[in-house]
């Protein structure tokens, strides 16, 4: 497989995966699966947070990203606005990394 061909396959495959979801949802509404679809984002977002924060080549790791998430969580509890949550999390992650947390 040449590089260009590989990229095209990846592009088509990704579009296919995205479209399958849209199509499946249309079908799901006929089978009264909407309660499930409504809860799906919650499970997925939570899983995404876990993968985004603790995922690594080796499986699970604890590094500067966890510090960032903790700082973001704290900001949320203190009812900071969305943008402040992101900025604080980024700062905390960068600080943790500068302190050698990887």
């Amino acid at each position: 497989m040449t590089l260009l061909f590989g990229i095209l396959v990846l592009a088509l495959g990704t579009f296919g995966l995205r479209s399958v979801g849209f199509f499946f949802g249309g079908a799901a509404s006929r089978f009264r699966l909407q309660p499930l679809l409504a809860l799906l984002p919650l499970s997925l977002l939570a899983a995404l947070i876990v993968a985004q924060t603790f995922g690594s080549e080796a499986g699970l790791t604890l590094d500067a990203r966890s510090v960032g998430l903790a700082a973001g969580g704290l900001a949320l509890v203190l009812r900071a606005p969305f943008v402040a949550v992101i900025v604080l999390a980024a700062l905390a992650t960068a600080a943790g990394r500068a302190a050698g947390l990887g």
Binding site: L10, T14, F15, Q34, A47, S66, G72
Partner: protein, 272 residues
Amino acid sequence: MRSVCRTVSPHTALPGAVLRRIIALAFAVGVVGLSFGVYATEVRVTGMSLALICAMSMLVFAGGSQFAFVSVLAGGGSVGAAVVSALLLNARYVAFGASLSPWLRRSGWVEAWLAPHMLIDESAALALAQPDERLRVRAYWACGILCFAAWNVGTLLGGWLGASTLDARMLGLDGAVGAAFLAILASLMRDMCARVAAFAGAAIAFSLLPFVPTGLSVALAAAGAAMALLLPQPPRNGLRDRVGNGVSDRSSSGVGTRSSGPDAAAPRGANR
């Protein structure tokens, strides 16, 4: 008739608060795109020109999978292996697409073809956090298009400027993305069902991550939503009967339009 309450007039554009969130997310996406451009050019995979890298950002538009694709090649893997590992990462889009489809399916054919391509974690999460169907559609498109622009400009700039630019890791943006999703998740935690779905999803991801590729473990976490549905349900003021067809009561309580009044449309921390 389709949603329990309409909280915006037909002429309302996106509220400023939502727009600010979209711009913040697009900025983060742009910086990650920048670091993708830098990474993809600096690892010097044979045949990977800047044109090809930019074409990939346009045609694939899925950050994690693009990094995975290049890193497999850089590690000496075959193109086939790179494609497979990148596609596994994108398996989660099936589930995200499914949860968006009730609101996005009825559009013209241009939109129908473009809508799936605008599906990234950011656009899906932001759209689903909106209280109203119309806002959801607008937030999805605005976030998707802005992030698409930012991602591609970032890739081009990164590939062009090279390693001299700051990367997303140094700025701590990889930690900030998780926090952004946490903020969105917090605004969706309306009832017990939602909490159970979130915790189950997180637990599944935790336990699968050491064994399964990242994207697949996120996709499989969708089972958490099914677990939450197995909980015994308290009666809900007959809302289910009133809504009838279309959006059922739990679907509206999960992602948006349950109770009445403008306050219900702006859950804690959702749209500030």
